[in-house]
Symmetry: C2
Subunit: 104 residues, 2 copies
DNA sequence: GCGGACGCTACAGAAAATGTAGTAACGGAG
DNA sequence: CTCCGTTACTACATTTTCTGTAGCGTCCGC
């Protein structure tokens, strides 16, 4: 038993995944790592969250094998993390369209 | 200024979107509405969150024009919401693969 | 006019996030 | 060998958010 499933008791993969991704800052961290590895502080400054929460989210993402820490370069996406990111890339374009529709 | 951009001051569409989707239960609610409309209580029971938070997330999703309330059938995805969901559908399959890779 | 389903709200207590400060390990300069 | 900077990370009091439970007001069928 690897994961704590917060939002769902079912343990169905999609629920576990949605639970993980639905935590504050998780999507943002993955997004921030999309191009290149980042140092802890660098990441923290970029997203503007407290070190406490950045650290615990990184721990969760590392446990989920989506992110890893390389001593040379910093935090970076694993192969699995890059796969996930690839699924999210279309969001970038779509978000532009969405914002226009919502007219913020 | 319509939206509170919690996680980012930039107002860049992708950041606003990631902020919205990164709130607790939001992804789960969108997922729960993927097939058919749901009533408030039905939705609440399905995800197991408090009515308070279900209501406020639904309000946010309605403001974001991703969800709407139809008196006849209940809460459902808008056209925009269905577009977003379509981007997320591959997650379902991917999550199965991911769980196998993580649960060593 | 009673009962049930509906969306939704109030509110106290619990949990999570913030903001600030600080620790411990390492590596290089003097 | 000290000092300094950089690294990841932790402690903790304060603030914000979420939960759990109860209940409100409206509509509709009986």
């Amino acid at each position: 038993m690897v994961k704590r499933v917060r939002g769902s008791k079912t343990g169905r993969p999609i629920m576990v995944l949605l639970d993980l991704l639905g935590r504050r800052w998780v999507l943002r961290i993955v997004w921030e790592l999309r191009e290149e590895p980042r140092r802890f502080r660098e990441l923290q400054d970029a997203i503007g969250a407290s070190p406490t929460i950045v650290n615990s989210r990184l721990a969760e993402l590392r446990e989920a094998k989506l992110v890893e820490l390389d001593a040379e370069s910093g935090y970076r996406l694993t192969a699995l993390g890059r796969e996930l990111l690839r699924l999210f890339l279309p969001l970038h374009l779509w978000s532009e369209k969405w914002v226009k529709a919502v007219a913020l």
